[in-house]
C-alpha cells in the first residue's frame, strides 16, 4: 500500500523534502514505518525522540497504518 508521510522541522531538513511517498507492506505498523525511515535516513536515529502521528494523534507503536491516514513524523517538539 502507498503512504504519504508529512515531515516537519529537523526531520524535514534531514530528509530534504516536506513529504514522502512510500510503498509499504499491508498492515505496516507505526513502529515498522519508523524503523524503515531510520534505516533509510540514519540521522533520524540521532534525534532525541521521533514519533509517528496518525490523524492528528500520537500513534502507539503497534498501530496499523492505512492508505488514507494523515501520517506525520514528529521530531522533538519545542513550542512555547
Amino acid at each position: 500500500m502507498n503512504l504519504t508521510v508529512s515531515l516537519f522541522g529537523i526531520a524535514r531538513e534531514i530528509v530534504g523534502q516536506s513529504s514522502l511517498s512510500l510503498t509499504v507492506p499491508p498492515g505496516q505498523s507505526a513502529a515498522g514505518l519508523l524503523a524503515e525511515l531510520r534505516a533509510t535516513y540514519p540521522p533520524l536515529a540521532d534525534l532525541r525522540s521521533l514519533a509517528v502521528a496518525v490523524n492528528n494523534e500520537y500513534a502507539a507503536e503497534d498501530l496499523m497504518l492505512h492508505e488514507r491516514d494523515d501520517i506525520a513524523l514528529i521530531p522533538p517538539v519545542s513550542g512555547g
Partner: protein, 142 residues
C-alpha cells in the same frame, strides 16, 4: 470542542489583550496569563531571531486536548484561551499566550502552568534559533 476554550495559531503578531479578553468570565475572580516572548540569548549564544514551524491541524487538535486535560483536572476552570505564533519572530515578539480564568486565584496559577508545560511537551510546533553564525532546531538532539 468546548465553547469555553479559545485555541488559535497565527502567523501575525499576537493581540495579547484579545487573548486575555477571551479568557474573561463573569463567574471568574481570577484571570491568569503566561506570555512567552523571544529572548536574545540561548545557552550562551546570541539569538538573532526565531523561526517557529507548526503542523497546524495536529497542533490545534493537541492544544484543544491540553485544554480538555486542564478542564478535567480543574473543573472550576471557566475559560481557556491559547494563541501560539508561527513563522519568523524577532527578539521581544510574543510567541505564545496562555490565559485561564477560575473563581479563585490558586487554581488559575496551577492550570495556567499545566497548560504551558504540557503544550511544550506535546504540541507539534518546532523552534529554530537563528544565531549570527548558523541555526539550530531547539531540543532536537539529546
Amino acid at each position: 470542542m468546548n465553547a469555553n476554550h479559545h485555541i488559535a495559531l497565527t502567523d501575525q503578531a499576537i493581540d495579547v489583550a484579545a487573548v486575555l479578553h477571551a479568557a474573561e468570565s463573569a463567574e471568574a475572580g481570577a484571570v491568569n496569563a503566561f506570555i512567552g516572548t523571544v529572548r536574545n540569548r540561548s545557552e550562551g549564544r546570541r539569538v538573532v531571531r526565531l523561526h517557529y514551524e507548526a503542523y497546524p491541524p495536529m497542533a490545534l487538535h493537541q492544544l484543544a486536548r491540553v485544554a480538555e486535560m486542564a478542564q478535567a483536572q480543574w473543573p472550576m476552570l471557566r475559560r481557556v484561551a491559547v494563541t501560539h505564533r508561527h513563522g519568523t519572530l524577532e527578539i521581544g515578539d510574543v510567541a505564545v499566550v496562555v490565559a485561564v480564568s477560575t473563581p479563585h486565584r490558586a487554581d488559575s496559577f496551577a492550570a495556567c502552568q499545566f497548560i504551558i508545560d504540557t503544550l511544550k511537551e506535546v504540541v507539534p510546533i518546532w523552534k529554530k534559533e537563528e544565531y549570527e553564525d548558523g541555526t539550530v532546531w531547539v531540543s532536537a538532539h539529546p
